[in-house]
Amino acid sequence: MTMAVKSSFKNMTLCLFSVCLVSSALLAAVYAVTKEPIEVANQAKTNNAIAQVVPEFEGDPVPGTIEVGGKEYSYYAVSKAGQPVGYAITSSSTGYGGALVLMVGMTADRVVYNTTVLSQSETPGLGAKCVEPDFADQFKSFNPAEKKLSVKKDGGDIDAITASTITSRAYAKAVETAIAVYDAITAAGTADVESVSGATPESVSGQPVEDENQEIK
């Protein structure tokens, strides 16, 4: 093939400029095409996670955010027949390999219904086992009033994953945070009950949910 052209300041600048221009134009086009499918995929993932961690509910989960201890947490309130069923709370902590992000479902009577891992970067074969039922099912129907939420090594009731105490601790910590968030949500809920304007009472008042049921029918 032909040899590359001789380099001069002008053609080097021009060449890099056009390579970057074409590349970014291409990326912009792909971004525009994939933007919607990516959002749909993410939404489906979130809905899946919510359905996994809370009891059966009707209508769409109502998203909300709350600040606890200077950090903002997002959650979804779900209800059935106008009665609040529970909350799916996104909570995170630092594991062995980075952030461990969980979706924790709390029922209306302050019991952990179920948990699921949204993202983790723990060691495969060790900490990454936190997604498996052997470990994760310990948090199913976990009542913080009856059991202690920490690993057995620290005097709690959670069996740590073999050789992955840090991950197990992080998991327990994330669930603990979610319970604190739940307390904050319910506290805000009772405080706001008289002024119907608060986000939480609105979502549990039943009115929007009934409307959606009619749409489904």
């Binding site: 093939m1 032909t2 040899m3 590359a4 052209v5 001789k6 380099s7 001069s8 053609n11 080097m12 060449c15 890099l16 390579v19 970057c20 590349s23 970014s24 291409l26 990326l27 792909v30 971004y31 994939t34 499918p37 990516i38 995929a41 993410n42 489906a44 993932k45 970067s121 060691t123 495969p124 074969g125 060790l126 073999t162 050789a163």
Partner: protein, 196 residues
């Protein structure tokens, strides 16, 4: 060299992993299971073929002194396209592999083929070279992933055949080096017998 030879040479003689020892970073990092290794390999094939073709087509117009930055931009663009497309249409695979996809940009195999082959050869030949090297890489990663998965987790392609744990070290980083070393020894022995 015929087109078929261009493709097959990447498999044994110039196998990027076992023979050229290139691209060790994704090789060691992603092969914790056979599926992960294979997906990483296939993702690399996609980038390798497209970037080889693009670089081969544009090489005559790129001044010599800025060729490396130009190649990197081209490769990075294809990697980002791949990332967006995977995120949109195969979210499950993206979930397990997402972390490693950006690593393809710095995979020496891709830049290595651009420098060693694509910028001197025709678009079609470069595409064949990309396919060959890519398949060789995929084969190596799948094999390494399979070995590590069998020894480390007692499963193959996700199907568990023992209860409990395997030899955990093979799933971790040191196991990657050990498994790779033994596979290279085996590969050299087999190819040496052929009289190469």
């Amino acid at each position: 060299m015929g087109k078929i030879q261009l493709i097959t040479k990447g498999f044994v003689k110039e196998n990027p992993t076992f023979s050229l020892l290139l691209g060790m970073c994704p090789t060691l990092a992603t092969t914790t299971s056979a599926i992960n290794g294979m997906s990483m390999g296939l993702a690399t094939v996609f980038v390798l073929v497209l970037s080889n073709m693009a670089i081969s087509a544009t090489a005559p117009y790129i001044p010599d002194k800025v060729r490396i930055p130009a190649y990197i931009v081209i490769i990075a663009a294809f990697v980002t396209i791949l990332q967006l497309v995977m995120q949109a249409f195969t979210p499950d695979i993206y979930e397990t592999l997402g972390l490693f996809i950006p690593l393809i940009v710095v995979n020496c195999i891709v830049l290595g083929r651009a420098e060693a082959f694509a910028n001197k050869n025709s678009v079609v030949d470069s595409a064949c070279d990309g396919i060959g090297i890519g398949i060789g890489f995929t084969f190596a990663l799948t094999l390494l992933g399979l070995v590590r998965e069998i020894l480390g987790s007692g499963s193959a392609f996700g199907y568990k055949f023992i209860t409990g744990d395997g030899i955990l070290v093979f799933v971790l980083a040191p196991g990657a080096f050990m498994a790779l070393a033994y596979l290279i020894v085996l590969f050299k022995k087999v190819t040496a017998k052929k009289g190469e």
